[in-house]
């Protein structure tokens, strides 16, 4: 009994640093945001905060820009997840097979992940420049008219999808690679004896055994996709015609340019609930698949 108590105490002591930091930087700010969402907190009058209950929430549902930003992020998520995860899996399969020069390719595909998103965005801004950019020059050489990319309301978000997928895929590739290398060789040998072809090998052996890795990757990619802000901030400033305005970017603008912390907090709460629901549905769906 006494020993158990002592062990418990030790456990709490070991947990304390993590708990204190999590509480200070995660739980406390989240609770504050929920509190502020019911107030009229204006950044310049921090000593004059009044409770306004649901006023912010009612205004948000009438705010065309916020609603547009929700539609935009839905489009982004729906496009970026298959592209980014698919690219990551493809790269991982290629590297897994290729034993020689393996490290070179790993570094090459992983390097965009290490670079700052701002740097990546600025680089692509130059590559995608309608008149001088490399991409349009290549297109021109193969006989395709120059594309407006970021300055077109219909192409801007799709362009950001590709840039983001290109930047992020290296990270998921590494996780997939680890997953692939965890698949025991005996399974493939057994398959060989049964005479499976390449496609069957991938579909009936690799894919099912990668499932736990895939679920992890899907959920983490989904959550980080929802947080899109840097690319539109640097590349399009949310334009053209709000086509690339995202909820997090709009929250940032409302809070820090417009100084409306209360309103921004309320959007954060709503958006947090949206992400929570989507993640919940996703983990349900993947668990049902299991059964």
């Amino acid at each position: 009994m006494n020993i158990k108590k002592k062990e418990n105490l030790a456990a709490y002591i070991f947990l304390a640093p993590a708990l204190i930091l999590l509480g200070l930087f995660l739980v406390y700010p989240s609770l504050l945001a929920i509190y502020y969402s019911f107030t009229d907190y204006y950044l310049l009058t921090p000593n004059d905060i009044n409770i306004v209950w649901l006023e912010n929430f009612i205004a948000i549902f009438k705010d065309p820009v916020f609603i547009q930003s929700l539609k935009n992020i839905a489009l982004f998520v729906v496009l970026v997840i298959p592209i980014q995860v698919g690219a990551a899996l493809g790269l991982a399969l290629l590297i897994n097979k290729q034993r020689k020069g393996n490290i070179f390719f790993k570094v090459a595909f992983f390097s965009p992940v290490v670079l700052s998103l701002v740097v990546i965005s600025v680089l692509w801004l130059y590559l995608l420049n309608p008149s001088e950019g490399l991409i349009n020059n290549i297109l021109l050489n193969v006989g395709i008219d120059p594309q407006p990319f970021l300055s077109s309301p219909t192409q801007a978000m799709v362009t950001i999808v590709f840039v983001s997928a290109w930047q992020g895929a290296g990270y998921q590739m590494l996780i997939f690679l680890a997953g692939l290398q965890n698949i025991p060789g005996e399974v493939y040998e057994a398959g060989k004896i049964d005479g499976v072809n390449k496609w069957q090998k991938f579909y009936y052996i690799t894919l099912p055994l990668l499932k736990p890795t895939s679920i992890l990757i899907m959920i983490t990619t989904l959550i980080s996709a929802f947080k899109l802000i840097i690319q539109p901030m640097v590349m399009t400033q949310g334009g053209p015609m709000n086509a690339t305005m995202t909820p997090v970017y709009y929250i940032y603008q409302s809070g820090f340019s417009d100084r409306m912390i209360g309103y921004a907090s309320a959007m954060t709460v709503i958006f947090g609930i949206v992400i929570g629901i989507v993640t919940l549905i996703q983990s349900r769906v993947s668990r049902e698949d299991d059964n």
């Binding site: 930091l21 309301p153 400033q237 417009d258």
Partner: protein, 426 residues
């Protein structure tokens, strides 16, 4: 473990910084005041500010002492304003601070800054646009220490190539109207067969508010009503439609472009550029381009020349207990000598009539066109507590207008945006 020690280090640093922050304003002596500047001491602007402070300390030796703190702001305006916001929560603002013109209303409304009228010995000398920008509720809160302006920069060689007689170009006294300006664009467009003016449509920032409101004002329109309460029926009235149609036509007819080549005017790609006083300094590095500056074109209906203006200002914090000293410092910093020094050092337009007289012989002809236009026609942006939102919606309106295929119905676009501004005002 490494991560943990880093985190612990961060926590310690935060606590340490917080402890430092509380020492912001010294309460020891009623004659010692602290000033915050938004720039770096390394810049010409910062140097001029430090010089002014040094002269103040000499002049008022034994009476007042001012200490300057330089808090450089980042490109988007962060950094400095973050520090102000942090000081607000801890009540540690300095006695005197700088703020951007469009922030006057928000800061005054929130009780951060105090009126300075009674401390200004020569208020009538300040340009009307400076007084307009700093005045909220009939009291002057902020005093701009320089002015800014925008004009049409033109490439003399390209104009001559298109057969345009440079002698016939407009002046501040006799500006051209939009029709004449369009004709000029047409001539250039026929000669070069590509966009001929970079209007900065790709710069989705305050620029779109700052540089394009004069077109609306010249037509007699406005962003919001004078009392700052109404946008519906103001932005979207017939004047708004006319002004925005003119702006849209500039893109629709191919005279301007939404994706200009970077530094296109500087490298001879475009014959004209809607550029600010800072463009003059940039062009010093491109000696091959011979250029001139002409004033804004005016609405054919009114013929009224309107140009943009605005700058950072000095203000006194409302929480300062040394308002006498702070007032004396602000008055000193906007004296003819201080303002002239600022303009010459930083290549910006002077903020007072006497400073104009002082420096007009020392600056280029191009700068003088902007100075002249500024004194004759500068208008300050609207003074609204929720200016940031209003400005952003206006920026969107300009940007959307340039998508002429999607927004051929200007009235509908303006109705929509006016409603958005209205809900920001309510």
């Amino acid at each position: 473990m490494k991560k943990l020690s880093v985190l612990v280090g961060v926590v310690c640093a935060v606590l340490f910084l917080a402890a430092c922050g509380s020492g912001g304003s010294s309460e020891a002596n009623h004659n010692e005041i602290v000033v915050w500047f938004h720039t770096s001491l390394e810049t010409p602007e910062g140097e001029a500010m430090q010089n002014t402070i040094d002269r103040f300390n000499e002049e008022y030796e034994g009476e007042y002492t001012a200490t300057a703190e330089f808090v450089p702001r980042s490109g988007s305006g962060g950094g400095y304003e973050d520090k102000i916001n942090a000081a607000l929560t801890t009540d540690t603002l300095p006695d005197v601070l700088t703020l951007d013109g469009p922030n006057t209303a928000a800061y005054a409304e929130s009780g951060i800054i105090a009126p300075v009228d009674e401390y200004l010995t020569n208020k009538d000398d300040l340009l009307p646009s400076i007084i307009e920008q700093g005045t909220y509720d009939d009291q002057m809160y902020g005093v701009g220490f320089s002015e800014s302006g925008v004009g049409i920069f033109y490439n003399k060689q390209m104009f001559e190539q298109a057969g345009i007689d440079l002698e016939t170009l407009p002046t501040v006294d006799e500006p051209w109207d939009w029709d004449q300006f369009i004709e000029l664009n047409e001539t250039l467009h026929n000669e070069f067969d590509k966009p001929v003016i970079d209007m900065g449509f790709d710069d989705k920032s305050e620029w779109l508010m700052y540089a394009f409101t004069p077109f609306l004002w010249s037509q007699g329109g406005d962003v919001v009503s004078e009392d700052g309460t109404t946008a519906e029926g103001v932005l979207n009235d017939e004047n708004g439609v006319k002004a925005f149609t003119f702006i849209q036509d500039m893109v629709k007819n191919g005279y301007s472009t939404i994706t200009p080549v970077e530094k296109g005017f500087h490298t001879g790609e475009y014959a004209m550029k809607l550029g600010g006083s800072w463009t003059i300094a940039e062009l010093e590095e491109y000696p091959d381009i011979e250029y001139g500056v002409m004033p804004y074109p005016t609405s054919p209906d009114t013929g009224e020349l309107v140009s943009p203006s605005g700058s950072w200002q000095y203000a006194m914090s409302a929480s300062s207990e040394k308002q006498e000293a702070a007032g004396a410092l602000i008055d000193f910093m906007v004296s003819t000598e201080s303002l002239s020094e600022m303009s010459l050092a930083n290549s910006v337009l002077p903020a007072s009539y006497s400073a104009i007289d002082e420096i007009t012989d020392e600056v280029s002809d191009e700068m003088n066109v902007l100075i002249e236009q500024n004194a004759a026609s500068a208008q300050a942006r609207p003074l609204l507590p929720n200016y940031p939102q209003v400005s952003r919606i206006f920026q969107d309106t300009i940007s959307d207008t340039t998508y002429y295929e999607e927004n051929s119905d200007i009235q509908a676009l303006l109705d929509d945006k006016a409603a958005q501004i209205q809900s920001a005002l309510d």
